[in-house]
Structures are given as C-alpha cells and as structure tokens.
Symmetry: C2
Subunit: 287 residues, 2 copies
C-alpha cells in the first residue's frame, strides 16, 4: 500500500507540474506520439511533455480514426507509452470511447491508472445521434465534471484538455456563427473544470488572436499549414501547441517516398539519407 | 472445416506463389514493415510481397532488438499485419524466440496460423551459450528440417529464408575466413531445405558477386550504404533484396528532424513538407 501511495503521489506531482506549464512563462509544445519509439524519441529530444495522436495510433494498428480501434487495444498502446517515458504523458482519447458518462469515466480511470496525467476529451458526436455533429453542451459539461470528480477521488489532478470540433467540423451557419459556437463551447468547458481548451482547425493568425481574446481559459491549437510559428503563437497568448498527427503523417509520407524511389528507380537514396543508425533509434527510446 | 480448408488452401497457394518469385525473371524487392500502417502503405504502393523488420517492430513496442520483445507481443503485430494485407507476408522472427527446436517449431506454427507464408530464421546464438556467436551448423540444419516438416504437416509450403549472421557478426579469423564461413553455412542451410539464404552485412559489389557464385541457392541481401542498385543486384544474380529496418530508421530520422526544428526554431517546415493528408494514410492501409 505504501508503494502504491508513493506511485500515486509521484503521478499527482507530475500532473500538477504539467498543469502549471499551461500557465507558465513559456508556451507548451506537445509532440504527439503514435508508438513507444516515437514517444521515446520525443522525450530524448527534450520535449517537456509527450502527447499522443489518436489518428496515428489508429493507423499504426490498422484502423481509421474516429474511435474505430477497440478501446482495450488503444489503451494497451497508451499504457506502454506511459510506462516508457518519464515526462508527463497526455493522451488523446477522442470522445472517451463510450456513449454514456459512466462508460467514459470508467475508460478514463483505466487511462489514469496507466500513469497518464492528462487527456484530450472531445465533443464530436461519433454516433451522429439526433443528426448532431457535436454532443450537446450540457452533456459535455457533465462529462468534464464527472472526469474531474473521478480524478479527485483517484488523488491525481489529471489535466483535462477539452476539445471542441466546432471549427474542425464547420458547425453552424457560416464562419462567424462557427466562431461563436467554438467560443461558447470553449468557455462552457472551461467553466465546467477543463484546464485547457483545444480548438483544432485551419486557424490563421487573426482567428487565433480573436480566439485568445474571447476565451477565458488556456488555449491549445494544433499545427496545420499556415499555423504561425511557436514564437508568434506565444506572443498571441496561445498556451499550448500540439503537433497532432503531423509527425506520423510525415513519417508515412517519407516511407511512401522511399517505396516509390525503390520501385520506380531501383535506388535507396531517400532511405539512406534519412535513416539513423539503429543504436540511435534504441538510445532514443531508452533513457 | 470446409472453410478452414479453403483458407489453408488459399494460404498454400500464396506461399507457392511467393516461393516462385524467388526463381522468376525479376528480382524480388521486399519492403519491411514495422506496423500495420507501414505494411498497408507498402502494399498500396505496389510491392508484391511484404516483409517485417524485427528491429523495427521491437523499437515501435519499446524494446531493443535481439528477441527482447516477448514472443506473444511480437506475434500480435505479425498477426495484425498478416490479417490486413492481401500480399504474401514474410516475417523476420530472429532465431525463433526459443532455445529448443520444439520451442521454435511451436512458435513458427503460431506464425503460420496467422496467415504468414514465409519466415526469416537466423543462426545468431542469442544466449551466447558456449561463447559462440552463431549456433552450430547441425543445430541450425535440424531447425530448418523441423520447420520444413511442420509446414508440410500444416499443408502450407512456407518459404524458409535462412539467415546467417557470419558476415554481420564478423565470425572467424579475417575477411576471407568470414566469407568462407558464410558460404559454408548458406549452402548447408539450403541443402537442409531453406528456399532462400539471407546474408546481411555491408557487402560491396565484388563480395555480392562472389557470394552468388559460391552459393547454390537463391540469395537475399539487405540494403545498406553502398548496396548496388536493384538493377545491378539483379544482373549479379541476387534473387531477393530486403529494405530491412531502413525505412523505419528513416521514419525515426525524419521524426527527429521535425522535433529538432520545432524545438530549436519554433517552425514546422519539415513536418508540413512531408506530411501526407490523413485520408491518404488511411487509403494506404485500407485496400
């Protein structure tokens, strides 16, 4: 029991530290891993915290994105990543892999037990029940409150990053309406206890600036074509920037280039130019 | 039972086809996957058969190479890859993840049951018992004979690619001795029933040419810096060329470049330049 308490206290301290980084001097850069090797590499390169990409993990296991991976299979990857790195790990578990608040809470409790200290939880309505792209605000608020209560009981102040897909899914009637819906949801989720709000989508500098002004809580955005530099995001007041599935998609893009060069030209220049020695791959994930 | 027989017959036909490619007009190019996404991508790009990299799978799961992954965990990845692609799948299972012939045979039977039609089996002595880098030739011959017998009983003519690490581990007293040991082993393994012999290492054009002349069975080599082009290998008489862990190490090399650019410069150029749209990642592994 003493050992369990110590482990839980370490996890709680890690969660607290991770939360503080959302309100510190620096903007938090979160790289998103899709397997243990990428997680270990990101940590070895010096990122303070490690995220995961649900889309990347799904692809790596052979599934489409959107909660198509059986939860237990997804969880196994999260557990391995959390066991491997020392840095705080925050995971993207989409809408929680369940339709009820109880189901989502049970799943997140399992995630928490693996040593993870933060989650992304989103409002996309994966079943499209009632024809709605997004879950009703009160349901998402209840979900956040239930997760906050569960994490209190567990003694780990888990960092909840509440994601609204309002802009991502172009909800509402035109750009202005979409923007308002995103802000309304972000503020409701923050008021419900989320530590950070996450708004994915193609956001130009002006939109990012307007979001920061309209939202009362730390804002997380994800890198897309046209995303301002980290320094600019910091100056605008963004608190957290995620790499999302980008690195995994780039790794696949490179693999495709390697494949095409070998098949069309019979040469290996792309492979040889980028490949790092295996010792370095191993060093990257063992520290 | 009828359905099982049909599945087994399909697998047998696939194995036969894969074997024929080792003796056809063209040289066989085998890309080596480390997860389902990379396997699906290689198939979508047009490779006729898909290999796996044990080192890459190990890294992706957070282990060093050299049979450090629990066999069941490695097997789970092989099963998922074999279930996902239609092309013949040949897997690298190092020395068979067991110290006895019976243990290796039981493991390979499980691999065969997952739909895989070919294996790499190597002579590295992972326990270094007796201080030997390589298993004794008679033991490796027994292993190959046992696997051939098992595959006969199972009704699937599994393609056995017997790998000698003689050159890779610089066994023997000097370059000439190492070369002779590699040739002696390759010919013994072929005589024992291997369909192809695999000699990894940094092999220049002259060495490759000498190996082809001295070995009586189809020869497989792996791409390293300085490896002749596919066309040249074909002209030299090499029957199969593997990409090994190269693509996985290149994917990690790119991920590291992305990480370093974001951390040192606060920009995402490498990520954005190489990342393919997520739809294309999904298309790549779903066909």
């Amino acid at each position: 029991v003493a050992q369990m308490n110590t482990a839980r206290e370490t996890q709680a301290a890690k969660a607290e530290q991770f939360r503080r980084w959302h309100n510190g001097e620096e903007i938090l850069i979160l790289p998103c891993a899709w397997d243990v090797a990428s997680a270990g590499l990101f940590e070895a390169e010096g990122f303070k915290a490690i995220g995961t990409t649900s889309a990347g993990i799904a692809a790596s296991l052979g599934y489409a994105d959107g909660q198509k991976v059986p939860f237990e299979e997804h969880l196994r990857v999260l557990q391995k990543i959390a066991a491997h790195v020392r840095a705080p790990v925050s995971v993207d578990i989409e809408a929680g892999y369940a339709t009820t608040i109880e189901g989502v809470t049970a799943n997140v409790r399992e995630v928490l037990h693996s040593g993870v200290v933060g989650i992304n939880i989103e409002d996309e309505n994966h079943s499209r029940s009632g024809g709605q792209l997004l879950e009703p605000v009160p349901f998402m608020v209840q979900k956040i409150e239930a997760l906050r209560a569960m994490s209190r009981v567990e003694g780990v102040p888990m960092v909840i990053n509440a994601k609204t897909d309002a802009i991502w899914l172009s909800v509402g009637d035109g750009v202005e309406d979409t923007f308002k819906e995103a802000v309304r949801r972000a503020n409701a989720y923050g008021a419900a206890g989320a530590d950070c709000v996450f708004i994915p989508g193609d956001l130009d500098l002006q939109t990012v600036s307007q979001l920061v002004k309209a939202i009362l809580y730390p804002l997380n955005i994800v890198v897309k074509a046209g995303t301002p530099s980290v320094a600019t995001l910091h100056d605008l007041g963004v608190r957290r920037v995620s790499l999302g599935s980008g690195p995994m998609r780039a790794a696949m893009g490179l693999t495709r280039r390697i494949a095409r060069e070998v098949l069309s030209n019979g040469t290996y220049q792309t492979l040889l130019e980028l490949a790092i020695p295996f010792d370095e791959v191993q060093c990257a994930f063992r520290n």
